[in-house]
Symmetry: C2
Subunit: 354 residues, 2 copies
Amino acid sequence: MGQTIQIEKANSLKEKPDVSNIKFGTVFTDYMFSSHYTPEHGWETPTITPYKNLELSPALQSIHYGQSVFEGLKAYKSGDDILLFRPEENFKRLNRSLERLSMPKINEEDAIKALKELLQLEKDWVPDGPGQSLYIRPFVFADEPFLGVRPSRTYRFLIILSPVAGYSGAALDPTSIYVEDEYVRAVRGGIGNAKAAGNYAASLLAQQKANNLGYEQVLWLDGVHQEYIEEVGSMNIFFVRNGEIVTPELNGSILEGITRKSIIELAEYKGYTVKEERVHIDDFLKGVQDGSISEVFGAGTAAVISPIGRMNIHDTDYIINDNQPGDVAKDLYDHYTEIQYGRLEDPFGWVQKA
Amino acid sequence: MGQTIQIEKANSLKEKPDVSNIKFGTVFTDYMFSSHYTPEHGWETPTITPYKNLELSPALQSIHYGQSVFEGLKAYKSGDDILLFRPEENFKRLNRSLERLSMPKINEEDAIKALKELLQLEKDWVPDGPGQSLYIRPFVFADEPFLGVRPSRTYRFLIILSPVAGYSGAALDPTSIYVEDEYVRAVRGGIGNAKAAGNYAASLLAQQKANNLGYEQVLWLDGVHQEYIEEVGSMNIFFVRNGEIVTPELNGSILEGITRKSIIELAEYKGYTVKEERVHIDDFLKGVQDGSISEVFGAGTAAVISPIGRMNIHDTDYIINDNQPGDVAKDLYDHYTEIQYGRLEDPFGWVQKA
């Protein structure tokens, strides 16, 4: 990249949908960004084109051997401005994911520049209703047509955009969680801390099992002992224990959530004590039973903060905080989203104009 | 499926290459098979078309969340016949992989029928040189354009064909192996026993590390203890200990190789004692050091049997059997491939005409 981005204009634009009525990740905007990698020339031909299907080989490396990683972030409408929240963190993490999957890194500054140019072109797609935003999906996948097991020689980097109301339902509606102790998502030494396509496919069977048992999402335990709390798959997990905020410490198999990191920083700024520690599921369960754990919530880009009102632990159903959003979750959610939408002062320098 | 397969004829056919000079998985034949799945109609529109690029959405579920599994088998030329080796085992395993990744199963009989029809059309592509065959790649991937984390609603099942000389170099050329004790490929409870795209992407960094240290492939240890021998990624591993053949027992994270299973059956038929057991790397190392382990070899569809002549275990280099193919490996390889090419009697009913 580094070169000027070529723009191919669309002949006609799509009609903008009523964002409050669309499902997460189903509607895409008029344009997308793409760039192509070869070992000879690196990343080149950065282009913004109309959003359209790709012509790909049936022997595509990423379909056969899964070299594919992604990121997720959001753009927020604030008056006439479009705001981004810590985009550099996403592209840093994209590079960590790329490295773990033996894929070539992108230039983070060029990527942010490309994203901003795309957003300027698509500024009318950033919705301004409550909780609404434009979901941004940067992703890189291997596109060499080749069936030997080795890293692809060529890759594509794309950014696509999708207006969203929220990941699921109304903000702060409590979700329900099944603690999974049979299937494993990731293990240290593996790729659990990369946003790699394969991690998500591996999670779906447990997700379906949880759904069949009446729970919305899965809480994963560690792959070695199947005893320590890891993450929810689309969110990191937090809980409030004796007034302090606790979250599992990063260990190589937990995704290093940017919302996780930012919530920790915001909570500490607001005077909460935050502890990152290894959490045994039985200690957690004891806390739920004796009331020392008063709130549980997830944190991730899509849902921001999602209170957890009901949990299945060792085949028993537990109600957390009367299945209501807790005070700490509400306090952090409000402050965090006000910063994201530019309505509260940002003492961290997290928010920038697109 | 179950319906008649529609055939769309190509206007012109490609020139057949000199198979002895092409690299594994780089040349594809004139035609491919495809079928499409919807929840409403199941698998339908089975079609043989010219081999061509696919038009796919940038929001393709399999690129973002990795619902993609595959199989690998070979067709062999025997006079005017084309032979297949236990194809029902591949489609059974494909269904096990599909189930693990929350994908819809295919009809195994219809798939074999489709494969045979494709092979009849492509019979001139099955090469007849020594060790040559037509590599068959059935695969299924999610093709719904949707960014929510849940199973795709729609899927494609394709079969593509590629003439091959052998996976790497001459038959029975010993390979070198690095025993990986940092990175992990799979863990029980995960998807290690599925032929899922994501497993292969997860293996590439260790593969590159091994290559940089001068070894061709990686031997994976178990994900829980990082102490027990699992597999080589493209092959299962066998060794000869005090004249008996030993291979790691299946445990949920080792791929259930069809070559593995067939080699065990053939070896027992030939009077060898075969043991499937949990093998600690340090016990294995002791056997290499004291000479009780006389041969090590891998077994998989691509390479059939691949003697292992050099191994790095705990950062020390060991030469196995003077870096020469061992007698047991040669004996099994010869018998096995003679059956595959229809030149020796097949007492197992493994070989069938396409």
